[in-house]
Structure formats: C-alpha cells, structure tokens
Symmetry: C2
Subunit: 328 residues, 2 copies
C-alpha cells in the first residue's frame, strides 16, 4: 500500500536514458543550441517515456528568468477586487501567458515602493502588469523591472501603458446623455488620487464647459458602496440632477440602487450611465447603459508586451463603444 518514495525525474535521468550529456539534453529541451536530429529524437523520446517535467525553480535559479507573471493590484484598499473587471483581467493574462509556460499570480500591492522592489528582484517573477496605477507608483517602479513591466491605465516614459480609450468612451457617453436632453449631468469619479480615469473626467468637464452646463463632480472609489455614498451626496447637493455618469459600472449600479430607494425613477427622472460593461450591467433594472471596456484584449496586450520584451509595440489604446441599454 505504501508507495516507494518516488524520486523526482531529473534532467540527469533523461540524459542518461538518451545516452547523452546533461548539457545536450538541456539544449534539446529548451531549444537553445544545435543538436543533431538523431540526438534530438532520442532526448524527446526519453522525456516522453520518463514523463520528465523540467523544474521551473531550478531553471529559474540557473538562468535567472522567472516563470510567473504578476498582476499587481496597486491600491490602498483591496476593495477594487470587488470589481468583476479583475476577473476578466486574470483570465486574459492566464490565457496569454500559458503558451510561454508562465503562470499568473495575483498580488495586492498596498504601498508601491517596497513591494515593487521585492517583485523586481524575485527571481520567480518574469514580469509585472500593474493595475490601478498612480503616478507615485510609476515613479516607484524600480529600474530592475525595466522592460518587464506594463501598466493598465496610465504609463510613463519607462512603463508602457495599455488602456481603453477613456476619452472617447466617456465623451460618447456624456454626449449621449446630452443628446437625450439631459442638462443637469453629474459625474461620480474614482478616488481623486487615481489618475486612471482623469481623461474620463476631462471629457465630462469639456462638454459641460463648452455647453455652459454646470460641472457636478463627486468622488467615489470604484466600488458599488462608494457609488451609493456618492449618489447620496449628489442628491443632497444638487437635487435637480437629471443624469449621472459613473466612472465604472459598479459605481453606477450603486447609484441606481440609491436612486431607486429614494424614489427617483431611472431613467425617467435620472438617467444613469456607467463604464466597463461588466457582466452584471445588463442584468440590472433598468439594464445599464455603459461603454464597453475590452479588458481581455488590453490585459492580453500588456502581458504580451511584458513577456516579449521589446519585440512588441510599447503601448496601445483600445477603442470603447457605447452600449445603449435602458438606464440612459
């Protein structure tokens, strides 16, 4: 009943079985260097026969290249995880990294500097995709991470960035609200220190100013709870508000809940629009008008950039399209 204490199958075993040296076996397996067809075959057969599985850790120690892609969620609160945005990001990253033999780790990075340094000289880390970046975070990205890091949202000269076209998407939404006759449009933004979405705010402000409409800004925190609180503030400050543009869907859903509670009809009294088009957006009552956010594509591009190093476009903006539903 007791198993023999099965020893790990090592490269040495493969080499021996194939009748070659460890070095040659390594060359064949990792494809780094020449090998005669005959030898190649013998090694491959041995690998298959023995069920050899290279030891990533040892490989990493020897070569210095990591085997996992870290998705670093930068932020003061882990609350951002509530946003189904992250799910899509992880799924896409995992899919992209898989062919590289790289796994994906999700990591919450409370304050940037020390933790990023840690990531930088962790041998097991192949690269880092930053989510929710602030400018302070970008500044804290250690040089050792150069060419192995990408950011979802804002970037810098050293950190390539990948993002949805916030300006265009938001502009489409605000214009849609305006076009449908709304004139007292409020916006619930994210936390003020997160520049991820400043462009959205600017789009909103631009339209307001160019049409001479009042700017009504309240900060949320990307979460539904934050949206609820912010919506209450909006109603208190500007009870005649007839439309709300929320920085993301979770916020919008929170806003709708508060409006409903307080007896406002959506969209008849107050129109509400979000951003991201998360799965629950179309399930809300009324179904949420929002702007699509190709999170999968974006994260995938970022992951590719990190894994391919410089062989790939350093940054990109992905288009967002207006998703018209019932709420606005």
């Amino acid at each position: 009943m007791t198993m023999p204490p099965t020893r790990r199958i090592t490269l040495e075993d493969v080499a021996k079985a194939a009748g070659v040296s460890r070095a040659t076996a390594s060359r064949v397996i990792s494809g780094s260097g020449p090998a005669s067809p005959d030898v190649r075959d013998r090694v491959r057969t041995a690998v298959r026969h023995l069920g050899y599985q290279p030891d990533q850790v040892a490989r990493s120690l020897a070569s210095g290249t990591g085997f996992r892609l870290v998705i670093a969620i930068v932020g003061t609160t882990p609350r951002v995880l509530d946003d189904p945005y992250v799910d899509r990001a992880v799924a896409a990253a995992a899919e992209t990294a898989s062919p590289y033999g790289v796994g994906v780790s999700l990591q919450w990075v409370p304050r940037a500097a020390p933790r990023l340094d840690k990531l930088a000289d962790d041998r097991s880390v192949r690269g880092v995709v930053l989510i929710n970046t602030t400018e302070a975070t970008l500044a804290a990205v250690p040089a050792a991470l150069h060419r192995r890091v990408a950011s979802i949202g804002i970037g810098s000269s050293r950190v390539p960035s990948f993002d949805v076209d916030n300006a265009a998407g938001s502009s489409a939404i605000v214009h849609h609200l305006y076009a449908s006759g709304r004139r007292r449009i409020a916006m619930v933004t994210g936390p003020p220190w997160l520049p991820c979405a400043w462009r959205s705010v600017r789009s909103y402000q631009n339209l307001m100013r160019s049409t001479g409409l009042p700017v009504r800004l309240v900060a949320g925190d990307f979460s539904a709870a934050g949206g609820q609180q912010a919506m209450r503030t909006v109603l208190r400050r500007w009870p005649d508000t007839d439309a709300v543009f929320a920085i993301n869907d979770a916020t919008a859903l929170g806003a709708i809940a508060v409006l409903r509670e307080s007896g406002h009809r959506v969209p008849d009294d107050v129109a509400v629009a979000g951003f991201d088009d998360i799965p629950f957006a179309e399930l809300s009552a009324p179904a949420l008008t929002t702007a699509s956010h190709p999170v999968g594509q974006i994260v995938s591009a970022a992951a590719t950039a990190v894994l391919e190093g410089s062989r790939v476009a350093p940054a990109a903006i992905f288009p967002s399209t207006l998703v018209r539903r019932a709420s606005a």
Copy 2:
C-alpha cells in the same frame, strides 16, 4: 546616468559582513538552529544594513519547500470567474498566506489529472486550494499533494474540505419561500456534474417531497447567463411557478432579469432567492434575498490548513444565515 550593474545581495555578503559563516547566517535568518545572542545581533544588523532579501527560488531549490499557494479553479469553463465569489476567495487567501511569506497564485485547471500532477511536483508550490471540485478531481489529486491540499466544497478521505453549510442555508431559504406562501417552487441548480451543491438540491427536494409539492429542477452553470437560460426553461415548462431558488446569486440575478423582461413582477408574481450574498445582491432590483456565504473565512481556513499541515482541524463547515431582502 547608467547605473552600475548592481549585483544581487546574497547570504554570502551578509555572512561576510557579520563575520560568520554562510551556514550560521542562514540559521539566524530562518531561525532554524541555535545561535549566540551576539551572532544573532550581528547577522540581523547586517541584513538590515545591506537590505538583504532572501532568494525564494534558491531557498526553494535547496529546501524543497514552496513559496506560493495555488488557488486552483477546477472547471470545464473559466466562466466561474464571473462569480465575484472568486474575488473574495483570492483576497482572503492572500491575507492568510502573507504572514507565512507565501504568495497566492490563481490557476485555472481545465482537466484535473495532468494539471494537478504538474502542481504537485512544482517546487514553487507550497500547497493547493481546490475550488469547484468534482469527485473525479478529488480522485485525481496525486499522493504527492498529500497534506498540502484542501478543497472548498466537497472533500474526501485524503482531501480535507471546507464549505458553507449548504444544507442548512438552502433549507432556510426553501422554508422561507414556503413560509411566505409559495407552493410552486422551482430550483435552478449548477452544472449536474458538480457536486458542490448537491446538498442544496437535496434540501430543496426534501421539503418538496415532505410537503407533497412538485419538484421542478433545471440546471444552470453558476453564471448569470446560465441563470437566464434556465429561467426561460422554467417559465416554459411550468408557467405557474411562483418562486425560484437559485443555486447562487449570479444565477438568481440572471433569473430576475428574465422574469422582468417577460413581464413577471418580482416578488409579487415570482419570488426569487439566491445563495452567496455577493456584493451585487443588495443592489439588484428588487434587492436579492439570499443566504450568506462566509467565503473569506472558509478560504482562510482552507489556506491555513494547507500551510499548517496537520497541526490544524482537517475540515469544517461554516454557518450560513438567511439574508432577507426584497426579492423573496
């Protein structure tokens, strides 16, 4: 402008700075073995002074212990990620593992056997928490993972399990529906091959049978989309249904959306209840009646079990409480 190619600070450096051997430095740092107070101090000072950061990979190679906890999402479709359930799980696991110096990786495990073997002899893996387990998966858990694995949901003699009290929670819900006068109660379950929630189904069946009410079961897939589809089936087969118990909140939210579309009032015509109490549950219209699911506690317990090995209770069931809102 160009940095000197800063060499990594190794244990060797620390040892030299402290005037001791590498072995002694190692002993002090990992606390494995005796050391005189004087030496201990000198080593600690050197560590702080040099900013030494042990190399997890090398450590792992040498000692054979891993440095990451893998949350394995077992399933045929990655769709389960849509469920905000996973967010809470990851957050809790990360928090629990952090003091152990262990990071958390999320991994999607399509088919169990080969991938679990891979995890089992990946040196970097300290342990595995299985989510969404089937019995086939449990059977495929390799012996090498013994004492390093836990399952959220069903378990086996070799795999400790941690779960919410599905039976009690579901029972509370079904009884609540019954007590509020519903008599034609349908249930939307999960995928038939996933036993995670069989107990819930059984609770439902028990009440139906004991009261002589008809059993109306339709399978969903834990997702909102699946819930929508299943709800349509329910309405087609049993148009007089006056209550729906959904296996989880995402499913329930999907069901509510379909009911609304098709002109049924919730809860007046059809009451709907879910399970899990995800963040969006209280935001839906009407707010969702559901049963709480202490995912955080559960995953945390599982993680602890994995990290502590046998020093901890091998399994546990966590209580669920009925969350009465507007939908039922």
